[in-house]
Symmetry: C2
Subunit: 329 residues, 2 copies
Amino acid sequence: MPQNSKYVIGVDLGGTKIYSTVVDMAGNIQASARKKTKAELGFDVVVGRIAKCIKEAADRGGIDLDTDIATIGIGSPGPLDLDKGMIIETPNLKWKDAPLKARLEEILHKKVVIDNDCNAGILGEFAYGAGHGAQHMVGLFIGTGIGGGVIIDGKLLHGYNQNAGELGHVILDPNGPECGCGVNGHLEAFASRLAIEREIRVAELHGVQTAVLQNGEKTVRIRSKKIAEAFFAGDAAVIAAVEKSALYVGYAVANFLNIFNPQVVVIGGGVVEAIGEPYVKIVRNTATKNVFDIARRNVQIVKAELGDNSAALGAAVLAWNAVANEKLL
Amino acid sequence: MPQNSKYVIGVDLGGTKIYSTVVDMAGNIQASARKKTKAELGFDVVVGRIAKCIKEAADRGGIDLDTDIATIGIGSPGPLDLDKGMIIETPNLKWKDAPLKARLEEILHKKVVIDNDCNAGILGEFAYGAGHGAQHMVGLFIGTGIGGGVIIDGKLLHGYNQNAGELGHVILDPNGPECGCGVNGHLEAFASRLAIEREIRVAELHGVQTAVLQNGEKTVRIRSKKIAEAFFAGDAAVIAAVEKSALYVGYAVANFLNIFNPQVVVIGGGVVEAIGEPYVKIVRNTATKNVFDIARRNVQIVKAELGDNSAALGAAVLAWNAVANEKLL
């Protein structure tokens, strides 16, 4: 195994696409490749597609996978068994007990390390993005769902079964709306893109005119970009829905400040990317109003910086950490 | 400094009393002493009282403080500056920037280490009580207020400003009752002994007969013991108030399971000591109903074991850890 490789490969395995990147130690992406996941074709086919996507990224960067790359990191939907490198189950991909690490190592003859996609995203922001330089960080990604992760003393929080950090699934009101996971009043049920969409539809049912539902789109999903356009155009229903989302994220962040006392809170994901600072400002104001002085002191609540690259870059960090650990042995 | 001492001294510094214990490495209390805190006499006087209480415990155990004790640990109300060993401020004791560690070291010529009283209690349960053997633990003490603490990979979670773990101050409903800290809907405002008392008084105002308010006690506090007696005697108002408290603690524990994915959750404090298993059972049922399968898997939700000794024993663990760190240097 090459001990002084200049590059690793970080892979973001999503429900709809695979994104692989060749990354140097400073977090610069040298080359990348994308493929559709096609999860419906089953685990074996998708593993083959991941391997191809990895090879394509290396080829594009003019990098020899065999000699120039020590390790490959993957951010995968979970829950995962990190030691075995297995996907325990994932609603997105419909697999159970899938040996992701072992199968990819067989195909590529390379060491593979995995962590869940949210943790990878948090790790990316921690190492190369908005959390750079901090040792205590909380991260939240507000998209179709809400994922999160926590860095404590420079290390990812994993917990006993290695599935800590489910920060979207905290009850903020036991009588609140039902979450996709079945529990009432989770942050995700108040603040995800789907929750924003629900609020807009409810407002429209109550007679509020809204640009995003003009064409009778009862079933089509309302994308973050469209939400942002209507938000900045002054659409009342959309503004109310977005502000409610940010308010509840703010309550949750207040809780995470009292729980973790972090140095930085990084807020990212599709909704935040699209709306930007107006969203983060509501989160910041709500959080700092509802927290102890000592937990508010010095804390930065900021927008994520890496956009769609966060999970792939964080997967690269996983790989670099594995290289470092190997050198220590 | 004695390098192979058989004992340390652990001190629980409370708003009303000081409790000091001589403890061996296995957590056996060899001797102890108690004094009233008399916080109103000021910091200097109280430091003198702590020193006296420490000497009394040593004397009672027939132990020479100078030669047989390496280190003294103190669980103190916070927030604290752990590095400087200072109390930053504490509403209970009305001190600000009080140099607890430095002043006690001057008087006793012994190394003193401090942490906040809740963390000390959690550490006691972790090392010698209900969390023994676990590496990932969440602890909650339900008393007049609600305090908590977290052990991750065998170590206390401290955070950036060393004041993480404020688990009583998490919003469980932004429209809920106001907490003592001024924020609406904190766990403490739903579930502390004071919250139980408020619920009982509200029920009585609505015409519900209750044994604990029979003598027109409008202002006297209702102690946990009295609450427990009425609970077991079938007093409807008290049962409803206690069950509501346990329900909200259950919601909070569900959140902590998804956040921390611990191996064990320890529930203690005056209310839980008084009611016991019926209380813990509601917490357990509520928590495990509202959490991901993976975070529920293998987790134990149990009653604390050390009662009033938890903070003093945890302070002893602080001291033992300091001894161990010194040997490593």
